[in-house]
C-alpha cells in the first residue's frame, strides 16, 4: 500500500509544470507584460524595433539589478528604503575618486566595499538592536543623502574612465548593462533556489523562530541580505554613473520606489517568505515599459503620471480578478 503511495507522490511531483504555472501568482503579471507588449506593438511602429527593445532593456537593467537584492530583503520580511541613496552615494564616490585620478580597479573595489559597509550598518541596526527595517533604512537613507551631497558638493562630478563601459558600453547593439542584468538575475535565481543560504532565506521569511530551531543563524542571514542588497546598489551606482560619465546629488533619488514596485509587482509578499526570483525581471520590465510607452505614444504631459498609476493597478489586478472569475465559474458548475 505505502509503496504505491510513494510512487504516487513521486509521479505527482513530475506532473505538468505548465498547468501549475497558469495557477501561480506569477502568471498574472506575465499576462500583463505580454498584454502591454502586444498593445504597444500595435500602438507604436517603433515599439518592436531593435533600437527600442535595447532601450527598454537598458532602462530596466538598473532597476532589475537592485531588485534582485531587494527581493532577498523582502523575502526576509524586511525592506530597504536607503538603496536609492546608496546608489547615488556610490556613484558620487566613484566619480570623485576617478576624477581625482585613482586607478579604476581600486575605485571599483572601494565603491563595492563601501556599499557592503552600508549594508552592514543597516543589517546590524536591524538585527542587533531589533529596530524595524523601515525606520532604520529611512534613517540611514538620510545620512547617505547627506554624505552624497557632501562629497558631490551639489555639483555634477564628471569623469572619463574605461569603467564607463559597465554602464554605457555596448557589445554589438547590446548594452553592457543588460548583460550585467542577466548575470545578476541568473546568479540570483541560482542563489535563491539552489544554495543553502538562499533556501534558508525563504525559511527565515516564513517563520524566524522555526528557522532558528533548524539551526539557521537568522540574524547573520538577515545581515547578509542587506549586505548583498547594498553591494548590488553600489554596483548599480557604478553602472548609472558610468552611463552618464558623471554623478551628481540627484543620482538615485526616488529609485527605491521603482525597485520596490518592481519586486512587489513581481509577486513578492511584503510579509516575506514568498516570491520567485525570476519574476523581478517581469516586474521591472513592466515598470520600464510603462515609462517607455508614454514617451513612444506621446501621451500629453499631465496624463502621463495618471496613466502610470492606472497601468500598475491593472497589471497587478489581472491575477486576482482571474481567480475570482475562476471561483465563480466553479460555483456555478
Amino acid at each position: 500500500m505505502s509503496g504505491n503511495e510513494a510512487k504516487e507522490l513521486q509521479k505527482n511531483v513530475k506532473r505538468g509544470g505548465f498547468r501549475r504555472f497558469v495557477n501561480s501568482s506569477e502568471f498574472g503579471i506575465v499576462v500583463a507584460l505580454v498584454a502591454i507588449c502586444v498593445v504597444m506593438s500595435f500602438a507604436s511602429p517603433y515599439f518592436m524595433t531593435s533600437a527600442n527593445i535595447f532601450n527598454v532593456l537598458q532602462q530596466m537593467s538598473q532597476i532589475t539589478i537592485v531588485s534582485v537584492g531587494m527581493a532577498l530583503v523582502i523575502l526576509t520580511g524586511g525592506i530597504d528604503l536607503s538603496i536609492g541613496y546608496t546608489l547615488g552615494f556610490s556613484g558620487c564616490v566613484l566619480a570623485v575618486l576617478l576624477s581625482g585620478g585613482m586607478n579604476m580597479f581600486a575605485v571599483f573595489f572601494i565603491v563595492i566595499a563601501l556599499g557592503m559597509l552600508i549594508g552592514c550598518a543597516n543589517g546590524l541596526l536591524i538585527t542587533r538592536l531589533g529596530i524595524a527595517p523601515f525606520i532604520v533604512t529611512l534613517g540611514t537613507g538620510y545620512v547617505l543623502r547627506g554624505a552624497q551631497l557632501l562629497i558631490s558638493g551639489g555639483r555634477a562630478v564628471t569623469f572619463d574612465s574605461p569603467i564607463s563601459f559597465l554602464g554605457g558600453g555596448y557589445v554589438g547593439q547590446l548594452p553592457f548593462s543588460v548583460i550585467i542584468m542577466f548575470i545578476v538575475v541568473i546568479v540570483g535565481v541560482i542563489f535563491s533556489t539552489r544554495t543553502l543560504t538562499g533556501r534558508n532565506i525563504y525559511a527565515v521569511g516564513n517563520n524566524e523562530r522555526a528557522a532558528e530551531l533548524s539551526g539557521i543563524n537568522t540574524k547573520n542571514l538577515k545581515l547578509l541580505v542587506y549586505v548583498i542588497q547594498a553591494a548590488l546598489a553600489a554596483l548599480c551606482g557604478i553602472v548609472a554613473a558610468g552611463k552618464l560619465h558623471a554623478a551628481d546629488s540627484q543620482l538615485g533619488s526616488g529609485f527605491e520606489m521603482d525597485v520596490i514596485a518592481a519586486v512587489v509587482i513581481g509577486g513578492f509578499s511584503m510579509a516575506g517568505g514568498e516570491g520567485k526570483m525570476w519574476s523581478v525581471l517581469v516586474g521591472s520590465a513592466i515598470i520600464g515599459l510603462i515609462k517607455n510607452a508614454f514617451v513612444l505614444l506621446g501621451v500629453t504631459s499631465y496624463w502621463q503620471t495618471a496613466m502610470i498609476g492606472i497601468v500598475i493597478l491593472v497589471a497587478v489586478s489581472i491575477a486576482p480578478i482571474k481567480n475570482i472569475i475562476n471561483n465563480r465559474r466553479k460555483e456555478v458548475v
Partner: protein, 504 residues
C-alpha cells in the same frame, strides 16, 4: 421530525484543490449529547467542523439546525445561531489582553457606546474562574502566558458565547492532566445545562470515557455513528484505520542497568531565568528519558536552552564528555542533536512553503555538492521516502504545508529531524494532535531509535506515554527537578507526587 436532533448534516461534500476532504457526509447530532468524532489525521474532522461553524462553505449538501435548514454565511452567523467552536490551532491575538481575546468583537459597551472596561474585566474574571484561570489578571497579554493557559483562554472564549452547541476540536492536545480534568469538569457542567458538545480528540480513552455518541470518519467518509455504549476501543480503532488493528507494540525492552552505559549528554546546573533553576541531568546512550511535570514546569525551556536556541544564565553542557558552548541550534545540530519543538505553528512550520521545503530545512545542508550548489535531485526522493515512512497524507510533496491537517503537519516536522539521523533527539510533545495510528508509528520509531543506540528525550504531558515509553523519568516542578524514577518504579502516583512539588 425528530426534536431530539439539534444539528443534522446531509450529504455534505467539501473539495480543496487536489483533495476531496469531505465526501457526502450525513449524520445527526442529538440535543444535549456529548458527541465525539474520531478519525485519523486528515480524515476531514476539522474540515467538517469548519463547515458546521460557518467557516467553510460546502460544495454540496444541506445543514439543518434546530430543524430548520440553514446556509451559514460567516462564523459570526453561526455564533449568532448559537454555535461556538474551539479551534484546533490556537487563534488568539498575541498583543491583546486575555479579556479582549475572550470578548473579541463582543466587548461590553457603556451608555456612551464606549467600551466598558470595568464590566469587561468583571466578566472576564468570572469567565476565567470557570476555567480555573482566575489567578491571572484579565489585562495580561496573551503572549505573556503559556500555551496551555492560552488553550484555556480559548475555551473560555467559546464558553463566553453562551452557545447551544460547542464544537471542541482537540481541546486537550495542549493540556496536561490537571487542566484536562478541569475541562472535563466544565464539560459535565455544560452537559447538565443541556448544551450539546461535539468533541474531537485523538486521546481515545477520553472519548470512551465521556461520550454518549461516537462518529468515526475515514478519508473524508462517514463510517459509522453509534452510541458509545455499543462501541469498544478496539473496534473504534479498526474502523478509523480501516483494518484490524493491534495496538500492543510499544517497547521491546527497557534499559536494565545504567552501570557502564555511556553518557551522551550531561547537563549541569542549568538556569534559565526563573523558568529553570539549577537543573542537572544525564542522558545515556540508547535510552528514552522522559521529562514530565505540570504545565509551566519549565520542561520546554530546559530543552530549548540545552539545544542552544534560548539563552541560559548558567550551566555546562557536555556532549560525549566534551564541554560545548551550545550557543546556537546550529551547534547543537552539529553535535548530532535534534529538537521537535512544542507548538508546531509557532515554532515548527514554514506555513507558506511546501511539504518538501518544510521537511528538508535541516537536511538541506547535507545536500550541498562540491560546487556549493544544492543537489536537488535527491530532495524529492528523500522527501517522498519519509512522507511514506510516516504516512504523511498529502496529494503531492509540493503542496503548501498550511493545507495539510494538523497531524500531518506534525509528522512532517518529525521527518525533518529523522532525516538527519540524530544521535540525540529531543521530542517536545511529539504526539500532540496525532492520530492513534501515527502515534503508534512514532512510538515504533522511538523504539527503533533507541535500539540503534540513539538517545531520546521525551517531554510529554500524556501520562500514558511517559509510563509506557520511558526508561527513566525526571519530574520537574516550577523549574526544579524534583525527582528521578526508573522504569520499574514508575507510577502515576509517584509522578504526581513529584510534579506537585512535594519534597522527596
Amino acid at each position: 421530525m425528530d426534536t431530539e436532533v439539534i444539528y443534522s448534516i446531509k450529504n455534505i461534500s467539501k473539495i480543496f484543490p487536489g483533495v476531496r476532504a469531505l465526501n457526502h457526509i450525513s449524520f445527526d447530532i442529538k440535543r444535549g449529547d456529548f458527541h465525539a468524532i474520531v478519525g485519523e489525521n486528515g480524515a476531514g474532522k476539522s474540515t467538517l467542523m469548519n463547515v458546521l461553524a460557518g467557516i467553510y462553505t460546502p460544495e454540496e449538501g444541506e445543514l439543518f439546525f434546530g430543524g430548520k435548514q440553514i446556509k451559514l454565511k460567516s462564523p459570526r452567523h453561526a455564533q449568532d445561531m448559537g454555535i461556538a467552536m474551539i479551534h484546533q490551532e490556537l487563534s488568539l491575538s498575541n498583543a491583546l489582553s486575555i479579556a479582549e481575546n475572550i470578548y473579541e468583537n463582543r466587548l461590553p459597551k457603556n451608555k456612551l457606546g464606549l467600551v466598558d472596561l470595568k464590566k469587561l474585566y468583571q466578566d472576564t474574571t468570572s469567565a476565567m474562574k470557570y476555567v480555573d484561570l482566575d489567578y491571572l489578571d484579565p489585562r495580561t497579554l496573551i503572549r505573556e502566558i503559556s500555551t496551555a493557559q492560552q488553550q484555556l483562554v480559548e475555551i473560555a472564549k467559546a464558553l463566553a458565547l453562551n452557545a447551544k452547541l460547542i464544537i471542541m476540536d482537540e481541546p486537550t492536545s495542549a493540556l496536561t492532566q490537571s487542566e484536562v480534568e478541569t475541562l472535563f469538569r466544565i464539560i459535565s457542567d455544560l452537559k447538565s445545562k443541556g448544551i450539546t458538545i461535539i468533541y474531537i480528540s485523538h486521546k481515545l480513552d477520553e472519548v470512551m470515557r465521556l461520550s454518549d455518541t461516537i462518529t468515526v470518519m475515514r478519508d473524508g467518509e462517514h463510517i459509522e455513528t453509534t452510541a458509545a455504549a455499543n462501541m469498544t476501543m478496539q473496534r473504534m480503532i479498526s474502523l478509523m484505520v480501516g483494518r484490524e488493528y493491534n495496538m500492543e507494540t510499544i517497547r521491546d525492552s527497557f534499559v536494565e542497568s545504567y552501570t557502564n552505559r555511556k553518557v551522551v549528554l550531561e547537563v549541569e546546573d542549568l538556569c534559565v531565568g526563573r523558568k529553570v533553576q539549577h537543573a542537572s541531568w544525564k542522558l545515556y546512550e540508547g535510552e528514552t528519558l522522559g521529562i514530565t511535570g505540570l504545565v509551566g514546569a519549565g520542561r520546554s525551556e530546559m530543552l530549548q536552552a540545552v539545544f542552544g536556541v534560548d539563552k541560559r544564565d548558567s550551566g555546562t553542557i557536555r556532549v560525549m564528555g566534551q564541554e560545548k558552548k551550545m550557543a546556537s541550534a546550529r551547534e547543537a545540530i552539529e553535535c548530532g542533536m535534534g529538537l521537535v519543538p512544542q507548538g508546531r505553528k509557532a515554532q515548527g512550520l514554514f506555513l507558506n512553503l511546501s511539504v518538501k521545503d518544510n521537511m528538508t530545512s535541516v537536511y538541506l545542508k547535507k545536500m550541498r555538492g562540491k560546487s556549493g550548489l544544492l543537489n536537488l535531485k535527491g530532495e524529492d526522493g528523500i522527501t517522498c521516502e519519509y512522507a511514506e515512512k510516516l504516512r504523511v497524507k498529502t496529494p503531492t510533496i509540493d503542496q503548501l504545508i498550511k493545507n495539510l491537517s494538523g497531524g500531518n503537519q506534525q509528522k512532517v516536522i518529525i521527518a525533518r529531524w529523522l532525516m538527519n539521523h540524530p544521535k540525540v533527539l529531543f521530542l517536545d510533545e511529539p504526539t500532540q494532535g496525532i492520530d492513534i495510528g501515527a502515534k503508534e508509528e512514532i512510538y515504533a520509531i522511538i523504539n527503533d531509535l533507541v535500539k540503534q543506540g540513539i538517545s531520546v528525550v521525551l517531554v510529554s504531558s500524556e501520562m500514558q506515554e511517559t509510563l509506557t515509553l520511558c526508561d527513566r523519568v525526571i519530574v520537574m516542578h516550577e523549574g526544579k527537578i524534583m525527582g528521578e524514577l526508573m522504569h520499574n518504579e514508575l507510577s502515576e502516583e509517584k509522578i504526581m507526587y513529584y510534579a506537585t512539588g512535594c519534597e522527596s
